[in-house]
Amino acid sequence: MELNTIIPNSDARWNIKNDRLMYNKYSNVPVCYISGNIVYVYIDNRIHNIVMKLTKHLVELGVEFYFDSPSHSDPKITKKNENVIMSYFVAYSNVHFNKGFKNMEFDLLNNMVKWCSRESCDDLIKPCYEDVRDKISKGWFDHYQNKQIYDYSEDIREEFESLYREIQINKIL
């Protein structure tokens, strides 16, 4: 399998450099790479439209793929499994990815559970989930308007409170 076969459309902004597929959005942003017949997609919130187009194309092709943290595109940084699990949760908290994957009928949590069982790092899911949940549920009180304000919407906050239960169900299935 090569990177040329994975490009979803004939846009001139796609290019291949250093064994990585890149998309030019003001600058070349790395999108995915291949290792051992498995595609790893950098789940970057800067290029959410392009990542969703690529996942849709990969699902249609029937290729095995997982997501990777965008910080691992830098060769200076050492790869850690915690960063990958955090990137999954951060993407799930993003409105564009949350609604886009649901419209596409793609289960992101199932993909994460499969990757964790493959890398044998199931113990790291709960602490990463708790970190993300605490940040999302944070709010502050605006005394001028006399109401509580949050950075994230109610839908996403309510989903995250019951998310660990869905992950455990996916593990059993």
Binding site: Y26, V90, V95
Partner: protein, 120 residues
């Protein structure tokens, strides 16, 4: 020919100049910059600002003149209407955004095709 792709390319050049001026301040500061991917960066590049609030703030807006809709409605020179609302062609609203909304309504009513908004 100066097509839409050329116009978009020229706006990208403007955006890059504006955002490079902004990042120059961050490179000499003591604090960290929070990326869209929840990553803390000490000395950010201009490409790390994509997706941030400054990305939407520094982009060029569709009103290319100083006369906004508010000024056209409440100013003493009210006879001069908003230039993008003038109906140059029949059966249109006068601008691309309004035509897009009408087209989507037509698809939903007559053909049953719904459009799901993934952007805010």
């Amino acid at each position: 020919m100066r097509t839409r792709g050329w116009r978009r390319h020229m706006e990208e050049i403007k955006f890059k100049k504006r955002i490079k001026k902004l990042t120059y301040q961050y490179r000499w500061g003591y604090g960290f910059f929070d990326d869209v991917n929840w990553k803390k960066i000490k000395k950010p590049n201009w490409s790390d600002f994509i997706g941030n609030k400054y990305y939407y703030f520094l982009k060029t807006s569709p009103t290319r003149k100083a006369d906004t809709k508010y000024k056209c409605k409440y100013s003493p020179n009210k006879s001069n209407g908003y230039y993008r609302d003038k109906k140059v062609r029949p059966n249109t609203t006068g601008n691309r955004e309004g035509d897009k909304i009408l087209f989507k309504r037509m698809l939903e009513r007559e053909y049953g095709i719904k459009h799901y908004y993934t952007k805010l």
